[in-house]
Amino acid sequence: MDAIILLTLTGLGLAALYFLVASGLSLVFGLADVLNFAHGLFLGVGAYATWWAAGNLPGAGPDGLGFVVAVAFGVAAGTLMAVLVELVLIRPLYSRTIEQVLVTVGLSLAGVALLQATWGADARPFPRPAWTREVTSIFGAQVPNGGLLLIVAAALVLGAILAFLRWTRYGLIIRAGVENREMVTALGIDVRKAFTLVFAIGGAAAALAGALGSVYFGTVSPQQGGSLLIFAFIVVVIGGMGSVVGSAYAAVAVGLLQQFVNYYGTSGLGDICVVALLAVVLLLRPQGIAGKAVTA
């Protein structure tokens, strides 16, 4: 029983990480039709900026309020990066899918190479609060606090994104734009501002995933974003491209499946099962769990 609780909560922690990366990816694809392969770079920038801030930024540190400042710095850096990528590289290429893919793949590779050149290719220990290294006993299971932190953060981000989508004008524009972008424009709305906004939201969530994921794993490495991005893409497709809630459901399914199968089967079998799940969803429900309704 303890093992099941532990696997469930660590699976949800993994799901939280996937959701933080996938939510922005899904919104960007749903609204702007951009398949952003550079999304993992936002995660890397967030992780490294947090790591750097914890050691160098005045007021920031590995513990207490200093850690909050470091994470906020990391999130701000990821957001800024995402906005710059949208404005400088993606905006001239809307409706040119192949060029977008080439640019974002190229940027992703260049970004990883830049991180490696600056801070080395090896994983570095991540400064983190002492309590995140400890465990909490939940119904007898010893659950790592880093995983619980991810779950709480993802739940808050999900709530914040849904509140934003439901209660603000830009949220309304994004929900409408995911359904029919052209018609939003035909109502006199400059939809490009919404594109920049979803990139910013996606960049912030990915950067938060980078910072908190590094807390969970205890290290930061240049390849971190790329490896998580693969599963985030799977989550986006399973959840329905453009649907934040669909991404949340899919992230939970993928995280739990991976964790349970890897534990009870062979290590690595969980990843294969996730790909099999993707294939099944594509065959039975190609539009994903939630289709294209953003908040469905």
């Binding site: 409706s95 939003v184 035909a186 309704a293």
Partner: protein, 258 residues
Amino acid sequence: MSEPVLTVEDLSVRIAGLHILQGVSFTVAPTGVTVLLGRNGVGKTTTLRAVVGLTPRSGEVRGTVRMGARSLLSQRTHRLVRDGLGYVPEDRCVFAGLTVAENLRLAERRGTTAAYDRVFALFPELDRRSRQRAGSLSGGQQQMLAIGRVLLNDNRLLLVDEPTKGLAPKVVTEVAEVLERVAESVPVLLVEQNLAVVRRLARDAVVLAAGRVAWAGDAQELLLETALTRSLLGVGSVEGHQPASQPAAAASAPEDGN
């Protein structure tokens, strides 16, 4: 004669290798309804979409489109709409996942007061169904929402694409009545296949054939000429008839003798 509200000169549109419009020229009068007619595939919707800047990026648009003295072709769609070019697309294009109230709220603009009174006076049904998802409305109700959305703001010209398409006869009459009332205050460029509606609403007519203007003039005069309507539109009688389809016409030469 007063200045036209819209002037289209030598408009050519090429999309995916198809030369859909091949030098279309016409004007829209500053009052009443000007109807754009023609068989299926001649480029009526393409014309409206070119005017409002919605030709696909892969497409090529040439010519001149002016609203008053202002050239439109270099402008982006949202700016044209904010400057008073209202557009009601074919197939309504309401946001199915949003409520009626949210669909209307999207059309609100900062700095102006949305004319909800005007919209609800024309379509009281929208007020009653404000919390209903637009996707669950009937076709007629969706059309009312699509028109109502545009009427929330003051417009200098309305482009309306096949508003009666796929609607029940009773609803067609309701939509025609609304457009008649709307046209009392704002000029309308209407694409319409239902000739009974055309007869009721239109003052001027422009007939396209194979991407060119085949006839332009008084709409009522056109409809009285049975032989002319048959040759241009493929029908001989006005009542309830819709022009025959001409799927291959888009890229072919104009019809002779029209």
